[in-house]
């Protein structure tokens, strides 16, 4: 998956850690976490739904850090970090948007409703899709990095809105179980399982983020080699022309 330069043992160790965390999280979510009295098995969706949102927030923080740092330093590495975080954010957001309705249907009786939490989240997904589309439309690297950094910061403005949406407004979506006020909270076993699932999700996300970053670095290498090859071809053509004369 990664380039040939990465040491093999590092890849094996990281794969082992991620796989074991995922297996442990899956087992804990399905067999260790206690059964919820009203929703039963559907409530176990919580163990991938919540960690996917937390991982998304983390990925988008990485992205906006890359965007802001790029605008200050103009270092390409920050642009790569920005796009890697944004793409992973979209992946985690997609998981959240798919698992949410699958939990909502048995819990609320509806798949979807346009309440503040769901709408701001859907908007966030659309904004980051737009960010990725925007990048694919600009050819020149510096211009692409600059425009997408500005757009990335603008898109990130929706993140705090998503976070506060079910705290400030009455929504179909329940109020947060963590940091949600005096009545919030979950069973201690559920809390531990969710923490484990979050660790697994973050581990997967980190591996994918590093891969995506590496991909962008390779893309930069390709564009450098392309311009080098073009000038090389021009040199050869002029040399041949001189020899001909």
């Amino acid at each position: 998956m990664l380039g040939t330069s990465e040491p093999m043992n590092r890849r094996i160790i990281s794969s082992l850690i991620v796989s074991s965390l995922m297996c442990a999280a899956g087992y804990a979510a399905l067999f260790i976490a206690p059964d919820e009295r009203t929703m039963h098995d559907a409530q176990r969706i919580f163990y991938f739904h919540l960690p996917s949102w937390l991982a998304m927030f983390l990925a988008l923080f990485v992205s906006v850090f890359g965007n802001i740092s790029y605008l200050f330093t103009r270092k390409q590495a920050y642009d790569w970090l920005g796009v890697a975080g944004a793409e992973l954010g979209v992946v985690c957001c997609t998981i959240g948007l798919v698992t949410g309705p699958l939990w909502g249907k048995p819990a609320w009786g509806i798949w979807w409703t346009w309440d503040a939490r769901l709408t701001t989240t859907f908007l966030l997904w659309l904004l980051y899709i737009a960010y990725l589309l925007l990048r694919s439309m600009v050819e020149e690297a510096d211009r692409r990095a600059r425009i997408s950094a500005v757009f990335g910061i603008f898109a990130f403005l929706d993140v705090p809105l998503v976070y506060v949406s079910n705290r400030f407004w009455r929504t179909q979506h329940p109020t947060p179980v963590f940091f949600g006020g005096p009545n919030a909270g979950v069973d201690p076993t559920m809390g531990k399982v969710v923490l484990l699932c979050f660790a697994a999700m973050v581990a997967v996300m980190t591996v994918l983020l590093l891969n995506r970053y590496h991909l962008e670095r390779l893309r930069c290498e390709v564009s450098l080699l392309t311009s080098e090859a073009e000038s090389h071809d021009l040199d050869r053509q002029s040399r041949l022309a001189r020899e001909h004369v």
């Binding site: 992946v91 998981i95 698992t99 891969n211 991909l215 290498e221 080098e228 090389h232």
Partner: protein
Amino acid sequence: MRNFPYLLAAWIAVWVVFFLYQISLSRRFSQLLDEIKRLKERLR
């Protein structure tokens, strides 16, 4: 086992999203590595 189909669907959805993303990354990696190989040969 009440509401199990929803749990199963969500479980599958998570894996499908990760799997598709992994495939997309691998495809882009191999395209770029091929391109690098081709360009290095052109520069030789």
